[in-house]
Symmetry: D2
Subunit: 134 residues, 4 copies
């Protein structure tokens, strides 16, 4: 299982007048989580783009269970599902009391420089395949 | 059917290095759409909060079909589903060629000042009910 | 004098837990204002970038006089100072009571595709010069 | 001298189509820097607000020297100037090559629950005064 946990500290600018972290920020955090997951497994997203690939979002969902507040430290666990032309990631956000406060998932495709759908880059397959073969 | 369309002009700050409008902005636009829809039907969300109600998001999904770019004018159509303790809204985003580029939906609850779940505010029911009775 | 006024409706996501529009949004609005000003005077910023020019920000200042709140309509007046390799813009934000709530200014440079400083694009000079010659 | 350095990792959502970190993010980072500085010196901004004080921004300036890119680690050094009814902070952003890429400053006031200007909270004076007396 490919997974990785990052810490998120809720910034003041991420709050809204409801006194909670605005829900749109979780979408930004999910992205941060999957980029850090890829990095942990030897795959730099910045390099992926430089080599001519993009991994745009086809779909994203977030489900909110409990609110996060300013200056709270959150733990975002990202899971990468097996490699696919329609690549899935799953997310779980925990607060410091280890309560699950949000879940989510996203679906991605790979496109090349001409913005056409393409197979996952070979380098990504090579680096990540071993982890899915167990 | 309660629905309302707002125009969105993609701001420079909303783009990302993929040269598209970053996907998290659609979540912000959906919120703008449902607030304007409520306003059109005589219901000011600012007043709702002043009267002690909040309508936090329980779940939000966005599905991306085509990309939007900087300075593009988009048309966001928001639909409000029948009043419910779990209130649903649906979204469709069109570009200026009338292509559907994104769909979405969100689920909300009503909470009171003590952050407890509550029925939809009476005033909202009164104002919106007629539209659902046809 | 080259100037242009745009309307800004404060979005919910732009508020913070202080119950005001977060101050970082004014920087985003200033950018929106100067892009719309250029458009009004026949100059599309999207086209500028396509033709290989960028106009990055060298410096930006915002001074806050009064707070803006959710769902408030603001009027942002942008002034463009005479064309220069260090291009200046000035900003004034008014609320619906016509109170001045924020002032600002920004300084820009023009860079070409190789990210080197360059003179303002000829097309821009041609289009805007007449307005400064009075 | 009261100062504190925090690390910032440029998020994908913080980039724009110029391929740089959008300039408005520095304003958000400055805020993060001064909140972490206060925390380091025993002063929790969340508690400050709970006790009825707000520290809104009167003025903020950012000067950009060099661009930051996606996934770059930046070091933001925040300095707090001596306590005053008009409180100043200064900022310097360095990239991982230790190049200074941005400087800034901000001016703040203290307001109480009634949104009236007030002296800096006693607790803040008590905690920070020793550092300014050397």
């Amino acid at each position: 299982m490919i997974e990785h946990t990052v810490e998120i500290l809720v910034r003041y600018a991420e709050t809204d007048q409801m006194q909670f972290a605005h829900h749109s920020n979780y979408i930004v955090w999910f992205e941060h989580g999957r980029i850090q997951l890829l990095k942990k497994y030897g795959f730099n997203y910045a390099d992926l783009e430089k080599s001519g690939y993009l991994m745009p979002v086809l779909e994203v969902t977030a489900r909110f269970i409990k609110y996060a507040v300013f200056d709270e430290t959150l733990f975002l666990k990202t899971k990468m599902l097996p490699l696919s032309a329609k690549q899935s990631f799953e997310y779980e956000v925990y607060n410091s009391q280890e309560e699950l406060i949000c879940t989510g998932n996203s679906l991605h495709t790979f496109i090349n420089k001409n913005k056409r759908a393409t197979r996952p880059p070979r380098d990504l397959i090579k680096k990540l395949k071993p982890y899915f073969e167990i």
